[in-house]
Each structure stands twice: as structure tokens, then as C-alpha cells.
Symmetry: C2
Subunit: 378 residues, 2 copies
């Protein structure tokens, strides 16, 4: 391997793989990035391919590079990234020398990293797409952002809740991909239009780590992302980048039973005002329960915390209420999570009674909704 | 207590005390701030006085406030600060109600904090100044910044090294306060002119925590700070703020024996170039030893790391050397600490031989110097 590459191109490429790398893995090579330089003289596109995997997820990126000699090598991803970011000049030379060492040259700086032969790197499984669809990058990013916080954490509970469920739905003749997540206390649902063939089963579940990586990889462009559905894996492809992940081996429960019904109390308010009021009142909330009291009145919402140890806080914010006044307890963190992912400022809250599931969404928008279970007030 | 105060005045005052407060103290009131409101109707200056102490150090600040009713109360400092920073309006009302509760009002927000009567708050000892001197705020801040990193950490070693030593010296008829710190591996010395009477003994030792608080309290103005020397305490006074601390109960060793002598190798270089080169080469340094190899040559310094596990790095930087070439090992972190507090770009490094103490300072400046013990190279 012998090549020249722009420092910023290499740095951006290595930044993308950091969320894939397992630093505390028992397999030493999973903390490594596989470099594959191709001059393109064999007719294939030339450049530097970087691969990272923890065997559950994998990222492959094609970086532009001026390759004079082909070669492959795996080096420690964290050290390599730290070095590249600190290099003094804008151009970097990478050379593979004897005994699997990577030499990194830039200006007067020289680094020699010990590496492993590419053959030792864990091979990526073959991917056989049984269907392919595409959607806007910004839409897919939104779906993940609006749902991933509601995925159950790994410590206990139903295994099927440890991922976000993909569902294909049709609305007014438009095909839409829906992502749903719940931890049993709250539920998020978000959807966006797609084109092509979605191959969905009750086991099409995106695990937590894949959601985290997708959030970091995707930007806010309207360019198209291709989503391929394999036997037990999903592959996202976009402009020289491939992200692959195994689906969670579990089944998502039927969530329709917990969706709110017959909500006689409908509250309209402003997201920004609710969020800043809640943030203040929450300062004194009890760490364990996060319990906050919401008193919905015709033109005003009173938010109140009573913490035996730390004190009391209260503040009111203007809302409009349709239906009778109602008082409900919420986990403040759950509401805060929802308010932080609502794209518009008009908020609609629907309640049936103080212990029934509560619906939160942007008023007049049907591409995302959120459900929170209230808490019993003392 | 009943008063109105500007939110930003109160917030700045509470920010200053955060470094004094002991959050994990066994005495619950040491996590509290004592508030004392005085209307000034008794002829004294009115306002809100805030006091924080851990019994080893104490801060007292006088804040401008419109007090209609006198009163005192101690409340949890962290909660109070968090609330004040988040308040929605620029003016805040503080009211002491029955049962030692502090009510905090701003806009539509109301907080009620449980408090303790002022009588429960630990009293500050009387301070009897036996001498008083003054120096520029920016100078005192510099002395602390240039020395505090060399103070020994508390875990082992000689107790007398766990603080910075104050010494009064005279240079060309000018009286100067010198601060010296050493952990046995490196030493920092910095000095600045003062006026008045310094009362110094071999036990005038500023403990680590006091240095940390002073760094945070002082700004870069040329206004005067008054330093009062008491029996076993020192008091800094400046514009409505008082900071008091107990001296370390130990004796500082005679450090003159370790100062470099007969340095036949004198190196001149640029601080910025040395620092950025060292930062890169250090990426692969071994965590335990931090050992970096410096090869001083007539017009070039080669900096090199050889780490058996992580790889090798090297880079050269332009310097001028007077005397024979010399190769020395250093703890990279120690040199980095020094380079980060040198105010000027011209650096002078003086060496006697590869295992003798090495001197580092700004070339042509005598108000600070630094000594580092080299490491034995394999």
C-alpha cells in the first residue's frame, strides 16, 4: 500500500466509523479499522476503502485517494483517528511496510503503527437483498431521532422492546415507512414516504446500536438513501457509504392496544413555552420518580413539583383546553424527550382520564405521534 | 428577608462560590450558601452577602440588592444556583417565609427551598492580620497559574509538597512575591512585584484547594488585590469579595539544592512550534511513563516516542543549540504543562547532562522559571 490522501477526507471517513468500533471488545481486531487501497488499474474504482465492524453492525466507506500501490491492513482505529486529526499538513502519505506496519507521513511528522494482515480481520457476511426501497436521507434521520429515545434499555423487560420496529403503511395511497419504539412506559411512532419494495415481517427490528450509528451517519440532505432488506440484516447505501446491521432476533408486540382512545380533553399549547417551563420546574424533581404534576385548566397549564427533600417549584404556561379541567402526573423526562423531537411549535395533547395513555403530537401533523403513560399522583 | 436583585448579579455571585462548596461533605451545611440580606437602614452598606465555606477556605461576596427586610438563611448552594440560572425574568425576588423557607420568584416561576437558620451555619474564625500587602490581580493570577500544576497530589509523598510556598524576595531593589511548587519531579517558580508588608515563614504554604479557588476567582485586571497574613490563615480582599484560607500545616523543603547549575547546553526555540510538535508525538506515548526522547542538535530538535504496544512517532522542530548535542528523556506531560503557562513564544532550555535537572523559561524573562528532572533512557 502506498497512497496520498487529503487529511480532511481521511479524518471525516475515520470519524464515521468511531461509533461502530467496540473499544472494550474481547476480539482485539474489532477495535481496528481495515484499510484497503486500490489503484484502480484493474478497472475497478480506485481509492481507499475503510471498513469497521463489531460483527452486529458494519460500516464501509470509499474515500478518494491517489493510490500508487495496492494493499490491505488493519490498524487500531482510535490511534489512527487521533493521529490523522493532529497531522500538520493537509496531505497525508500512507505506506505499508514490512512486518505489517503502517507509516503515516505529513510534513515533518512520521508515525509507525503496528497492524494486522487483512486476512485476520473478521469477514463481513454476504448480503442477499430480497427487496430494496429508498427514502430521503433527512426523512430517515428524522424517523430515527423521533423514536430511538423510546427504545427499552437492555437491562430487563421484553427483549422485543430493545429495538425500533419497521412497518410499511399506506396513507391516502402513499407508501410510508413507519418506525415504532416503546419501553412499556411510552411509545414513539414516526413515518415518512418511500419508494420501492419494503420487505417487512413482525421481526423487522432495528437494534439500539444500529439506531445510534444511523443517527450519527445520516445528515439532513434530501438525497436518497437505499434500504436493502436481507434475510436477517438490513443494508443502507448512500454515496460511497454502506452501513449494514443484523436485525434484532425477536418479535415486536402488537402496540395498537395501548394507543389512546376517546380523548375528551384536548390541549393546545406552544412547544417552546412548555419546554422552557418544564425545564425550570424539573430542577427540583425527585431523581427516582421524575414525577411532575400537570393541572390543565381552560386557559392555563400549571406545572408543579413537590419534593420532600429539595423543595417545591411551580410555574404556569398559557394553553387552550377543550373539555373539562384535568390533573395528571407525568415522568418529566418522558415529556421532555418528546418535546425535544417535535419539529413544529404547535403542540396537541390529548387525554382520556388521569391514568389512561396520553397522546402528544404536533397539531395538524400526522407523520409522528407519541404516547406517555401518566403516573399515579399521591 | 425580602429583597429584589438582578438575576445576573445573583448568578455571578453564586457561580463564584461553587468551587468552595464541598458537595460530598459529611456536614450537610457545608453544601449550603449563607444568605444575609441587609437593608442598610442601620448605617451599614445594604445588599445581599453570600458566604460559602468548607472550614478550610471561605468566600464572602457582597452583592447589590434592593432589600426591604433584613434576614439570614442557609440554602443548598447547588439547587439555588441551578434555579437562579434558569429563571425566566431579569429580576428576582427572594423572600424568607416561616419555617426557614426561601421563596424565589421571577415572572410566573415560583420556587420554595427548604433552608437552615443562620445560627446552624459554621462560624468563620476571626482573622487577625499581622501584615498586609497588595499586588495586581493579573499578577497574582499568573503566579498561581504558573505554579499550581507542580504541586504534589495528595496521594503520598512529603506533606510539605502539597501546597505552593510563598516567599518574599528582592530583585534590583524591587520587592517581589515568589510562589514555588514542586512534587519532587518538577518545580515551578513565579514572581511579581508587591507593595506593603509580607509576613512570611517557612510555613507560608497555600494548599491545593485554595490555589484552585484563587484561579477561578481572579480575573486579568490590573486592579489591586489585598493579601492579609494572619496567624495560620491568609485573606485576599478585592472589590466586595473576600477569600480566606488556612495555610497548610507543614514546612516547605529547601528547594535551592535542586536548581540547575552549570548548564553547558542552551537551546532556543519557539513555544508554539514545540507545543504542537510535542502534542502530536505524544499521541503514542505510553500512559504509565509518558516517556519522550529529545535529541537536541545544532539546528534541530528531534522528538521521538517508541511504544512497544502502540507504535512509534517522531517529528523534528527548528531550534538553535549552544554547546554539544545532547539526548534526554522527559515525561512529556511535565513539559506540556510548562509550555502551556509560558506567556511569551521565545523558549530557553538549559541542560547540564542527560540526568541533571533541566531549566525551562521564556528567554530574557526572569519572572518565572521551571525545572524538570529528566528520565533515564533505555
Amino acid at each position: 500500500m502506498d497512497l496520498f490522501i487529503e487529511r480532511d477526507t481521511l479524518s471525516r471517513g475515520l470519524a464515521r466509523i468511531q461509533s461502530v468500533i467496540e473499544r472494550r471488545s474481547t476480539h482485539p481486531l474489532l477495535s481496528h479499522v481495515l484499510l484497503h487501497a486500490r489503484s484502480g488499474s484493474d478497472g475497478n474504482a480506485g481509492g481507499l476503502k475503510v471498513t469497521a465492524t463489531d460483527t452486529e453492525v458494519a460500516f464501509i466507506g470509499d474515500l478518494e485517494a491517489n493510490v500508487s500501490k495496492d494493499g490491505q491492513l488493519a490498524v487500531d482505529a482510535a490511534s489512527f483517528f487521533q493521529i490523522v486529526r493532529a497531522l500538520p499538513e493537509t496531505t497525508v502519505q500512507l505506506t505499508l511496510t514490512g512486518n505489517n506496519r503502517l507509516e503515516i507521513r505529513s510534513g515533518r511528522a512520521l508515525f509507525k503503527l503496528p497492524g494486522h494482515a487483512a486476512e485476520e480481520y473478521p469477514p463481513l457476511p454476504a448480503f442477499d437483498a430480497q427487496g430494496t426501497m429508498s427514502m430521503k436521507e433527512s426523512d430517515l434521520k428524522r424517523l430515527v431521532e423521533q423514536t430511538s429515545f423510546a427504545v427499552a434499555s437492555d437491562d430487563g423487560g421484553m427483549y422485543g422492546l430493545n429495538g425500533a420496529y419497521m412497518e410499511a403503511v399506506e396513507l391516502d395511497g402513499e407508501r410510508r415507512l413507519r418506525l415504532v419504539a416503546t419501553d412499556g412506559h411510552r411509545l414513539s411512532s414516526a413515518e415518512a414516504p418511500y419508494e420501492g419494495d419494503a420487505v417487512i415481517t413482525p421481526r423487522t427490528l432495528v437494534p439500539r446500536k444500529a439506531l445510534t450509528v444511523i443517527r450519527k451517519l445520516l445528515g439532513s440532505s434530501t438525497a436518497s438513501v437505499e434500504i436493502g432488506f436481507g434475510q436477517n440484516a438490513i443494508r443502507l447505501t448512500q454515496q460511497g457509504q454502506v452501513f449494514w446491521f443484523r436485525m434484532l432476533d425477536a418479535e415486536f408486540p402488537d402496540y395498537n392496544a395501548v394507543l389512546p382512545k376517546e380523548c375528551k380533553h384536548v390541549v393546545l399549547g406552544k412547544r417552546s413555552e412548555l419546554a422552557s417551563c418544564l425545564k425550570r420546574v424539573m430542577i427540583l424533581v425527585a431523581d427516582r420518580t421524575q414525577a411532575v404534576r400537570f393541572k390543565f385548566q381552560p386557559s392555563e397549564l400549571d406545572i408543579r413539583v413537590h419534593n420532600v427533600d429539595r423543595g417545591e417549584s411551580e410555574e404556569s404556561v398559557a394553553v387552550s383546553l377543550e373539555g373539562e379541567p384535568i390533573e395528571v402526573g407525568f415522568n418529566a423526562k418522558y415529556l421532555q424527550d418528546i418535546l425535544s423531537v417535535l419539529p413544529e411549535d404547535d403542540v396537541r395533547i390529548e387525554l382520556a382520564h388521569p391514568l389512561a395513555p396520553c397522546l402528544v403530537k404536533n397539531n395538524g401533523h400526522d407523520d409522528a405521534f407519541f404516547v406517555v403513560m401518566p403516573m399515579r399522583l399521591d
